[in-house]
């Protein structure tokens, strides 16, 4: 089995700048959300992925519209990269009628079939059997589309994780399982919920390949994703990619996260995926200061426009409280 970690890849300058844009946009979206929570404008328990953006960017970058993603609560960025407009995601978080769920949800529980996005319930791990089901249809249709499914290291302890990955392994389904190991499940450190160092080792129990990589390195994530996607599209079955990372904020915006030390936080902040990638681009002279400024302006205008759209969107019609239950 070809090494996932040593997969060869080539990215054009344009693509690299695109990656940079996504990293910045996703970071900016979450940072704005955090402010909006403090301002009381977004009233749900927001789970930001600040510090984990490289995982979403690296794994979503090469996906097709037909491919399916199965994100979890911290993966708002994957909705954006898969084609949902920032304004609509913002409206969703505001619980406005213009959001994906018409205001019924202010999180990521709503999906977009035509964009290949599955919206899970809150139940951790419950997206993984569904991911297998989506992948099963790709296999039945003999297409080379794939499913990318996300979950935290904490969710890897649920029964659905086991049943979903085993089903995918037995049927050699085109799924890439992406574990975002950010060291904590809410307040519980990984050593209290798993007796192993690498969630990736669990893949061996399902008959497919698992790798643990630096999830804060967008190029490393992209490289492994390339290998896993290629194998999935070639009908060689699932791969589990465990991305070691860290969430900068609390579990939700309401969580002060006293359970971790400032040294630990500092260590991980020093591993911020964005500066690393910025340096890379600058060393290749791809990111002149005007270019950087241009991208940053573009990002903030997208976010500003999204917030304006969400704030100006109407609340849902109370009648929608009971509609859309049965087809």
């Amino acid at each position: 089995m070809a090494s996932i970690k040593r997969t060869k890849f080539k990215l054009s300058g344009e693509q690299l700048l695109d990656m940079f844009y996504w990293l910045k946009l996703i970071r900016a979206f979450d940072e704005r959300l955090s402010i909006l929570v403090r301002q009381g404008k977004v009233r749900s328990g927001v789970y930001t992925g600040i510090g984990q953006e490289a995982i979403i960017v690296g794994t979503c970058f090469d996906l097709r519209r037909e491919d399916y993603i199965c994100p979890l609560h911290r993966d708002l960025g994957s909705f954006l990269m898969k084609g949902v407009e920032a304004r609509q995601m913002m409206a969703q978080m505001f619980g406005k009628s213009t959001g994906l769920s018409k205001g019924r949800d202010s999180a990521l529980h709503s999906g977009v079939p035509e964009l290949g996005i599955f919206g899970n319930t809150s139940m951790l791990g419950a997206n993984l059997p569904v991911a297998a089901g989506l992948a099963l249809t790709f296999k039945m249709e003999k297409t080379d589309n794939v499913v990318v499914a996300y979950f935290g290291e904490g969710a890897s302890n649920t029964g659905d994780f086991h049943e979903g990955l085993n089903f995918a392994g037995v049927n050699k389904l085109p799924v890439v399982f992406v574990c975002e190991n950010n060291q904590y499940a809410y307040s519980v450190p990984v050593e209290k919920s798993l007796a192993i160092d690498d969630v990736a080792d669990r893949a061996a129990g399902y008959g497919f390949h698992g790798v643990a990589i630096n999830g804060n390195d967008v190029l490393a994530v992209y490289q492994s994703a390339q290998g896993a996607l290629r194998r999935a599209r070639a009908g060689e079955g699932p791969t589990l990619i465990e991305c070691k990372t860290y969430r900068w904020h609390g579990h939700s915006e309401h969580d002060k996260a006293f359970y971790r030390t400032k040294e630990e936080l500092a260590m991980w902040k020093s591993r911020d995926p964005i500066p690393t990638f910025t340096t890379y681009l600058q060393q290749l002279n791809m990111l002149a200061s005007e270019k950087l400024a241009e991208i940053e302006t573009r990002v903030s205008s997208v976010i500003d426009e999204a917030v304006a759209f969400a704030e100006n969107s109407p609340d849902p019609d109370p009648l929608e409280a009971t509609t859309d239950l049965y087809a």
């Binding site: 994906l100 769920s101 709503s110 419950a126 059997p129 569904v130 991911a131 659905d160 049943e163």
Partner: protein, 327 residues
């Protein structure tokens, strides 16, 4: 032209005809493939349609339902089999959260056309875990439909309706009836619409509402009362969610007296909802309280003397009808 089929054969015929009609229909579950299912319901299906469309799964009820949901989101119509209805508790979250809420949380942009076949009910010396009647849990959960046929004709017609329905449908096939219930079943498309009851016997004095394996003993009890000069309407619900209010009210308006009989336990069995609904909407029509005869609030024991002590039977039903008539 119609032919005599058992209840089990009628279920199989519905599966085969729907699979021929619609290539999106497939079957998954434990031992449903070459073996043809624990009860033989899917015998011969692999031979005609191949393992692609009728396949064995690992022992993973939650994944069986989760995979079905994923496939349904891509336009398939999976028919999942629980080997026994009792094991549906292992798939509970995927059913009541993932499937039941999807359309609502998606803002109406998707639906989940899955059917979960579950062999339910006792009187077969199955003991505590091979005799359960789980209908009430699912009737209570908004977003699901629940059906429970009592005849071969309905078994076929309701399964076809369930497969064509765009919502998640729990299809309860009573294992006591598999080979004991025989009847004439027409070739081809005789759909039994979900939500319609059948009046099995007409009478002006009493209304008896039941379903599943309790229909036959109820009819026998009604015949006994007829010999005593008391005529009973016997309504076979067929669909438990939605249930046929119109048929129930029409009969109660005529008889002013109703008895509900079911094999599920009494407390919060569907009889509770029917009774409460009749009172709410037909209080004036009632000359007697709506009465319930159900399984006592306990579990299903193995020994025949014990199981028979718990199951409603023609004697206990006839006594209940006499009490109702005498009220």
């Amino acid at each position: 032209m119609p032919k005599e089929l058992t209840y089990l054969e009628a279920i199989r015929e519905a599966l085969v005809e729907e699979m021929r009609r619609d290539p999106k229909v497939f079957i998954l579950g434990e031992d449903v493939g070459p073996y043809g299912g624990a009860f033989g319901v899917t015998q011969g299906i692999v031979e005609e349609f191949g393992e692609e469309r009728c396949f064995d799964t690992p022992i993973s009820e939650s994944a069986i339902v989760g995979v079905s949901i994923g496939a349904a989101l891509r336009g398939y119509r999976p028919v999942a089999e629980m080997q026994f209805a009792d094991f549906i508790s292992c798939a509970f979250d995927q059913i009541v959260n993932q499937a039941a809420t999807l359309r609502y949380r998606y803002g109406g942009r998707a639906s989940v056309p899955i059917v979960i076949r579950a062999p339910s009910g006792g009187n077969v010396s199955g003991g505590l875990y091979h005799s359960q009647n789980p209908e009430a849990w699912f009737v209570h959960r908004a977003g699901l439909k629940v059906v429970a046929p009592s005849t071969p004709y309905d078994a076929k017609g309701l399964l076809k309706a369930a497969i064509r329905d765009d919502n998640p449908v729990i299809y309860l096939e009573h294992k006591y009836l598999y080979r004991r219930a025989k009847g004439s079943v027409p070739e081809g498309d005789d759909i039994v619409p979900i939500g319609t009851a059948a009046v099995r016997r007409e009478g002006n004095d009493l209304t008896l509402i039941t379903y599943g394996a309790m229909v036959v003993p109820s009819l026998e009890a009604a015949d006994r009362l007829a010999r005593e000069g008391v005529e009973t309407d016997v309504i076979d619900l067929r669909s438990l969610m939605p249930f046929d209010k119109a048929a129930i009210f029409a009969s109660v308006d005529k008889t002013s007296r109703a008895l509900i009989v079911h094999e599920d336990v009494k407390t919060l069995g569907i009889g509770a909802e029917l009774s409460a609904t009749i009172m709410e909407e037909r209080f004036q029509a009632l000359d007697a309280p709506v009465m319930r005869l159900a399984y006592p609030d306990t579990h299903c024991p193995f020994a025949s003397v014990l199981e028979q002590a718990n199951l409603p039977n023609p004697d206990s039903i006839a006594d209940a009808l006499r009490n109702l008539a005498a009220y």
